[in-house]
Symmetry: C2
């Protein structure tokens, strides 16, 4: 039940500037890894709250091995300049989701870029605030590092140790490559999701009410805070524009093909095929190591403890449930539970559940 | 553990033509509701397989109250004509995901539209084939019915009873309104998802490898079978073109705004805001009855039975888990489990889990 132990740290002390979700999670992870952590926030109450959550102690003048600038992208360069002027640490990193603009601004402001290694921990939570922080937030996730050409080897080593100390996997890229990658995998999908969701803003209630899981999935990230995304998009404007322009062009071509469609060759064949290819290249949740899973469907009563009985049966049978999806049925006291298991385990699980009285009407999909 | 009983059926006998996922699920549901079900498929082996799954008996000349044409959209009108010429049933319905083209074609072919009531059960599975069928597939879901102006009252009543007998909620719309609604909530989202996913088809591996949950969600439906979607899009070409053209225009405008961005006003503010509004209008999984849920996060060992212990603890405490998400961590024997519960239940659940030795480092998000 405990988090695996990590290698002993050479980093003795880090300072986290900005105690939001990311900053506090880094602080918690580094405390767990054995480092001393000092906390700074422009709101002293926020730093005290993080300290109360066990993330470290409020900073009071100490010098650290690494200072983490967990501030919004637009504040990185000024915060770095200020921190370097105060001699806060031997090396500095940030966590901004864009890397070129802060680096450019830091160069303009005259920051010492030999001891700054930009960073970006990926795949955190969509929540925000220190209360959502947890030390395992970065466990097993990629964390991009963008050392500039002038970066000192010692600074790169210290920041890399911070990353591995947080349980993340360092991925080295140049800043421009990082920003193009984020435009593709994160920023453009957000705008595309918003553009689809925007179609629902003025549609008749009776139409929107028919939306199902597909529409929900495509538009889920469009629910994110506009203020945060405005800043991200503004900071990575050109690379994002490149991607969404290409998407826009593909959609315009698809619309034209559909309007011209007269019942012969099916339209948009190529776009759908490219979509299948692209979808297949996106890494699955588990990092690609797991094979295809089989789904076993069970109908259960929608009451406390019911699900536990099913999972207990699976546990007794030695079957590991890789994923669960629960669907509640409108106005009915039953739910559909889909259990994802390794294909080898499915027949065993089905037999076990049937033995214990659950009805699984038909064999699962292969 | 049993499915709630339904009102007694006036329908005595139905015939299902086409024993794929939808047809077989309807057959299973109507059998469960007490009707006699007869099965027809152009592949006799498929009809026999469905019969072996408990879906009914192969048809051998009987006349039914309702015949369900569970065939692809392009085959509906010809199948209807053929069935009516053979006098298969007193009333007919289909399950095609577009309603105008089959209706137009049926009128052209001279079908008797007084006894045909087009239907479309929504929100089924993404799987296909009779092996994925289950009687609860339609439980609590909307099922659109599009009776034409000439439809007999008796036919409408019979088909409505089929829908409620399957546990679904009938929603009456005209055929054109249905097709525009489907373009908005299903067909256009598919094309938009494909257009985003297509960007991943040729991108460098190192970039695609950074994709996370957001990109996965936006592109999930793009993985659907192109052949099926080609037919759907071709059949609903104009309404789909209207929606994706609007999305394309919004994206082109957003790209232009991003290119013109010079650091003053943030770009794409309006699109993001409309996206948030539209996203908020999409019904949540549970049909809008559930309030906001609170998430409780627990770190668990990735081994059989672990999850059961947590859910057992919740069950003992009388707490109903509304949703579960499991995230496996790359290369680590632990997983993050997020339990969604009613906000009132969260403190109780946290206390219960802590008492039993699980560590929940920080309070959950509110």
């Amino acid at each position: 039940m405990s988090v695996p132990r990590r290698a002993r740290l050479a980093l003795k002390r880090i300072t986290v500037i900005g105690t939001g979700l990311i900053g506090t999670s880094i602080a918690l992870a580094m405390r767990q890894a054995g480092a001393e952590v000092l906390l700074i926030d422009r709101d002293p109450a926020a730093a005290r709250l993080a300290a109360e959550l066990g993330a470290g102690a409020p900073w009071s003048g100490e010098s650290a091995d690494v200072a983490v600038l967990a501030v919004p992208p637009s504040a990185v360069a000024r915060t770095l300049l200020d921190a370097q002027e105060r001699g806060l640490a031997a090396a500095y990193t940030d966590v901004a989701s864009v890397k070129v603009p802060p680096l450019d601004e830091a160069a303009r402001l005259g920051c010492d870029l030999r001891i700054f290694v930009g960073g970006h921990p990926l795949g955190g939570s969509e929540r925000s605030g220190p209360l959502a922080a947890r030390p395992g937030l970065f466990d097993g996730r990629p964390w991009v590092l963008c050392p500039a050409g002038v970066a000192d080897r010692a600074a790169v080593e210290s920041v890399t140790e911070l990353v591995t100390g947080c349980g993340a996997t360092p991925v080295v890229m140049d800043a421009a490559g990082h920003d193009r990658a984020m435009a593709l995998v994160s920023h453009a999908p957000h705008v595309v999701s918003a553009a689809m969701a925007a179609r629902f803003a003025d549609a008749p209630e009776g139409m929107v009410g028919l939306a199902g899981q597909g529409a929900r999935d495509v538009t889920r990230i469009a629910g994110g805070a506009p203020s945060l995304w405005q800043e991200i998009l503004a900071a990575n404007a050109r690379p994002v524009a490149d991607v969404i322009e290409a998407v826009s062009d593909d959609l315009a071509r698809a619309a034209a093909a559909l309007r011209a469609h007269a019942g012969r060759e099916p339209p948009v064949t190529d776009l759908l095929a490219r979509g299948v290819t692209g979808h297949g290249r996106i890494p699955v949740k588990r990092g690609g190591s797991a094979g295809r899973l089989t789904t076993v469907t069970v109908l259960v009563a929608d009451r406390p403890g019911e699900l536990a009985l099913i999972l207990q049966a699976a546990g007794v049978a030695g079957i590991n449930i890789e994923d669960i999806s629960i669907e509640h049925l409108q106005g009915r006291p039953v739910g559909v539970v889909e259990l994802s298991v390794a294909p080898d385990s499915a027949p065993h699980l089905i037999a076990e559940l049937r033995t214990r009285g659950w009805s699984l009407p038909v064999p699962p999909e292969r």
